[in-house]
Symmetry: C2
Amino acid sequence: MAKNKKQKVKRPKALPPRGFRDYFGTEVVERNAMLRKITEVYQHYGFDPLETSAIETVEALGSFLPDVDRPNAGIFAWQDEDDAWMALRYDLTAPLARVYAQFRNDLPTPYRRYAVGPVWRNEKAGPGRYRQFYQCDADTVGTPTVAADAEICGMLSDTLEAVGIPRGDYIVRVNNRKVLNGVMEVAGVLDPSDPSKYEAERGIVLRAIDKLDRLGQSGVRALLGEGRKDESGDFTGGAKLSDEQADVIMNFMDARRDNGGATCARLRELVSGSDIGLVGVQELETIAELTDVQGYGADRLLIDPSVVRGLGYYTGPVYEAELTFEILDDKGRKRQFGSVAGGGRYDNLVKRFTGQEVPATGVSIGVDRLLAALREKGRMDSHANGPVIVTVMDRDRMGDYQTMVAELRNAGIRAEVYLGNPKNFGNQLKYADARNSPVAVIEGGNEFEAGVVQIKDLALGAALAANITTNEEWKAQPAQMEIARGDLVAEVRKMIARADG
Amino acid sequence: MAKNKKQKVKRPKALPPRGFRDYFGTEVVERNAMLRKITEVYQHYGFDPLETSAIETVEALGSFLPDVDRPNAGIFAWQDEDDAWMALRYDLTAPLARVYAQFRNDLPTPYRRYAVGPVWRNEKAGPGRYRQFYQCDADTVGTPTVAADAEICGMLSDTLEAVGIPRGDYIVRVNNRKVLNGVMEVAGVLDPSDPSKYEAERGIVLRAIDKLDRLGQSGVRALLGEGRKDESGDFTGGAKLSDEQADVIMNFMDARRDNGGATCARLRELVSGSDIGLVGVQELETIAELTDVQGYGADRLLIDPSVVRGLGYYTGPVYEAELTFEILDDKGRKRQFGSVAGGGRYDNLVKRFTGQEVPATGVSIGVDRLLAALREKGRMDSHANGPVIVTVMDRDRMGDYQTMVAELRNAGIRAEVYLGNPKNFGNQLKYADARNSPVAVIEGGNEFEAGVVQIKDLALGAALAANITTNEEWKAQPAQMEIARGDLVAEVRKMIARADG
């Protein structure tokens, strides 16, 4: 047969591009519910929403993509008809910098804004790693005061509790890039009079600190010195610091004490002699004071020198929210859930456009990770919210079924009439099952004449339903009851309440 | 001076690409509020949310962009690293077809889904016409019954009322592409045995019917015949129908009667002899019956033969929601607000992927147009929702101000502490003004000692505020009052209630 066909019809593949996925039903509802809770907190703190378009000029986006060294690598970009390059945004901060530069004379100062939306990364996709994902950011632009940083740290704590992470299951860690710079100065890998000197070494030091969790003290120490061979035999070059220099860095990472005051005192010793370092410690002390007075104790917020954050553009306080409860990883080992949000102060992003330094600080929540955490903790209220299904026993009375369904909806009950082929009643029940329906409504000709309807508790009957194909068998189920047509809304409501309870 | 500079720093332009814009504060809040109301109705009707990614393969999108003849014209597309073409979606229907084809074995049948999100068109931008805009769709896939079309028409009516368009200010018009095909057959421009014959003529006829509003009877008649010269002198070629043929079409457009039944009866006369036409009339009768029985009378829903809808892919019922109240156009002339939503039955979209016909019907709401209509009617509840501003009289007591603000927030009041430079008190008031704040809280050293604070009704004082620069002048304003520090939350709440009332 096939041989006789001259041309085979070429059909498009029904697949999204690699690294993209679809979100159905409850997934969408849950994410939206979480985002609403987050933005309600942001709104409450005086932040205003901003929605920019997905597309920016490549020129405006610049080459600030975190963790990517090549300019414009990692983004989806193309040329417009007039040859200008456009690209999909890779985060919500770059568009904010563009907007603030564009509208700085019209926006209030400081400008508190929040933004929610997808961002795109042209990177290799992997399991659980997609090329489109949501971010949910809050930033304060136009003020240098660390009170703004402190406010965002407190707000981040409030936000996590608002979405359902209980106190004790998370911690907001705060550090300061200036303290780190002070330590670098003391360690001899930062020369304030020539900031570009030792840049490579500092990069290695930063990445090493960031890997403390994974590599432990000895691994980090190796990276600070000659380098490190990992389990696979790959060698990572080190910063080639002397033992004394490395000691300074190791002491810094080990500087956390029982409370913010004690940690700051220890840091003050470590950066002694570095102006920038002392400014940094002073800022951390202010953040600790401001958050303390509002009751953000050590169970919620910590000054923690081991927080580095990958981004090169941070210039002052950096912060990170970590979930501290344990989960099982792919290999069944226990580990802490880990980071779900992070941010910090970046005073140079707007400068690219205007030439003037505009101080700014902000946080970005990893929406999908936080959602995963809430599901892990059973905090999503995702009980069956399927519609009541009004089944069709007699296709000529579609109007009557529509009337029933309208009554139910008008009473605030999610409901629909079965719109597939009504011939096989079993299919109607399978459909109700697939939709997670709490209740099915059945009205044959006899019921119609008698002014009654059957209603069926599907939560009770779900297991059996797939095997039932006739109305008679159906009626025999214990979860089914006959009610007066006039009581439809009241009785369905009762049955749903029972299923929910 | 400039001559001495060897290199001028090249700064990026702080602008979005041409045809894109940003949405601030209230604009975002209002759109989200409207979308929430719409999706609540959709959800209530049993539709489930689906969120696909912004990017699809060009192959999957196909060449279905409405009103564009060239394949893939009008979309933003680029090549991935492996040379596959990807593109931003231009509507929400094409991704639905891909998803249904991909997951058809797992999805319930029929599949009721709704989707909300931006879509992108690579078209010339103009005033009020952007290259990214929102759509909000509901579709029922997998059932041929016109009860599904009737349901969506009723839901569209409910949706418009839910967002705030009062009954009487809108009308849902319904037609059927099959009736139109029947009329084409009777007029001799459709040969059921060779559907590709007269395709060009039918295209001209469709576009002519769609322009009835704008061109009037005589203009349409000209397009059905030899063609038409417009005011600018441009000539549009006609379908070259004979007078008798054109009469059939004109009679069709004029077939609307006082109620659905009468209109259908007239249509039945007009398509007499065409099988497809009679099927179409039968479908319209069923829709009229089903919506009648649910109380969607002629004040909400009309069978209207003049509705064509531009899209070539519609195969059965088509529908359109029009707002009937008058607005002034750019030139100050009164005109009806016009269409805000439309849709219809398209049975061939999924077939591209699977080879099997999958009947589907759905509606798309033009989000920005509906928002504009609601603003026009004063239906957006966009009263000032700025935060209470706790001003900073003494920057060393930032902790105290933060505590006040936390008390207000914990009581459910949107509030923030002023985080700009507090030196110039007038700037703090200007800021409060720019933020649309209802209340400012003021606590200097003396007040602090005395255990009191000043609160100021900014709605009353806004006009004067810009000229006041000292605390003393400020106190003299009548809208200001001194209260006990312990009464802060209660008194601020009262003042906001007064401002709202």
